[in-house]
Symmetry: C2
Subunit: 292 residues, 2 copies
């Protein structure tokens, strides 16, 4: 059996090329989508993420504004900045790069963003609408995974999907998307996490296994059944003296081992990763359509 | 093995007796919890539900106000009524009895209720907060099921809970409660529904099986494993000429058959049913504490 490699990079490029065209057409209506990114502190990883996001914006014709504050900035100040962006007509999406310094309450910050500008899909009202089945901004990584499945025509209807990981950003919204009465929903879904007993008994049941735990290569070949579709959300650095940088990137799944049994699998890197920013761009575009 | 009967009636009485005392103590602070119930049209079942709710209020010392409108009342009118109750200081909880006549958009009505007075836990912001793990009003039936498990000391930690049914009122909030990092959470949870294939293969895995489908006696003994804990949310009428009324009430589970294999089971009636109104009373009390 040949294992299909699910290239998120390919799907992302396909979607971005469509999106670029749509954004270009919006100019006829005098609309330019705008994204504001707030960064507090100088976490190097966060800076890289923010750069990738603003680069994606400029390539697609989305206006972006990056606001960088020192890590001793008060919560009050950030809330005021959000209020300003909420009222700024050039801005359709507001994103606060996580994590924030510990003196700032993340949930307070998220709850201050107008739900209609919450392109990350983290505001409780967007989370709630997703669950209820109403139109909402959906967290970018789970939304991107649905797009990968769509692109490769991997139906979820009646399938047993097992999710490992219960984060607010990936596991929970993924779960709540997949059982919905919708074309790429209607799955029987199981959510596992650190307290799950006999994890391998559950993962072996999966027709589609989605892993987002941040634990390098924790899913091994003996934990999956033949023909499984694997979606690996993890990106972990592990030491590797044979590499120039001294490390290599691996997922939460032991790719080489599991590949032999899987009918399809996302690689790391180049799998789910590229989809996240793409969906952020899609959400920002979608938000700008309000101005039509 | 003796099968434990999980009497929701008993748990409800226990909780209500505590609650009555707490509400009585609130009087020292000059606080009387208040619940407003809106009924549109004359659906006989809805009338019975509304009566049960207001009766429960009066027994516990909660002020209640029932507003009954004819079924040709406009959506606009109901929205105005909600606005009034949102601003009414004597009212801590607002409940709109479902279903509404078809010319009224249920989600519009629910979204108009102030989240802090949404004692049914149906507003997207309460649903979202529950998912994220923040303090929220939780839909009464799932909240009541957690109370039954607590009362009978049935731990969910690391257990495999299977839920059959994906309604906004029961299945979805039940799912999102049970995987949370909390004392009666931390379960591995699977959600099944009408599109699930091989349902009996999934239900057989359950340590705890929660059924809310509205399909009479659909879960039979061959679909569960020995020692399972069964929570039956269904209340269905089936014809029975031996009864005076010509029908009897049964759950979604074939009680007599399944009882032999279950270690514990909720009966119908007297199981989950009595908990729903009790949790509504608890939520209304909780809401009134804002006034302290």
């Amino acid at each position: 059996m040949e294992t299909k490699i699910l290239s998120g990079k390919k799907v992302a490029n396909f979607l971005k090329s469509n999106l670029k065209e749509k954004i270009s057409e919006l100019k006829n209506d005098g609309i330019v989508p705008g994204l504001a990114v707030i960064l507090v502190g100088d976490n190097p990883a966060s800076k890289i993420y923010v750069n990738s996001k603003t680069n994606a914006c400029s390539k697609l014709g989305i206006f972006s504004k990056t606001l960088i504050y020192s890590d001793d900035t008060s919560e009050k100040k950030i809330l005021e900045v959000i209020d300003g962006l909420n009222n700024d007509k050039t801005i359709d999406g507001i994103l606060v790069q996580m994590p924030l310094p510990s003196h700032i309450d993340e949930s307070k910050i998220i709850n201050r963003i107008l739900p209609k500008k919450d392109v990350d899909g983290f505001h409780p009202i967007n989370v709630g609408k997703l669950v209820i089945g109403e139109d909402a901004f959906v967290s970018c990584t789970p939304a991107g995974i649905i797009e990968i499945l769509k692109y490769y025509k991997i139906s979820t209807e009646g399938k047993h999907v097992v999710i490992v990981g219960r984060s607010n950003i990936v596991g929970k919204p993924m779960l709540n998307l997949l059982y919905q009465k919708s074309e790429f929903g209607n799955a029987t879904v199981t959510i596992c996490h650190s307290r799950t007993k006999n994890l391998e008994e559950i993962t072996k049941l999966a027709d589609i296994l989605i892993v987002a735990t941040g634990r390098a290569e924790m899913i091994t070949a003996d934990m999956v059944k033949n023909g499984v579709v694997i979606v690996d959300v993890g990106i972990n650095r592990i030491e590797d003296s044979t590499k120039k940088k001294g490390y290599r990137l691996v997922g939460d799944v032991d790719f080489e081992g599991v590949k032999e049994k899987a009918s399809a699998i996302t690689p790391v890197p180049g799998g789910v990763g590229p989809m996240t920013i793409t969906m952020l761009m899609m959400n920002t575009y979608k938000s700008s359509l309000r101005k039509k």
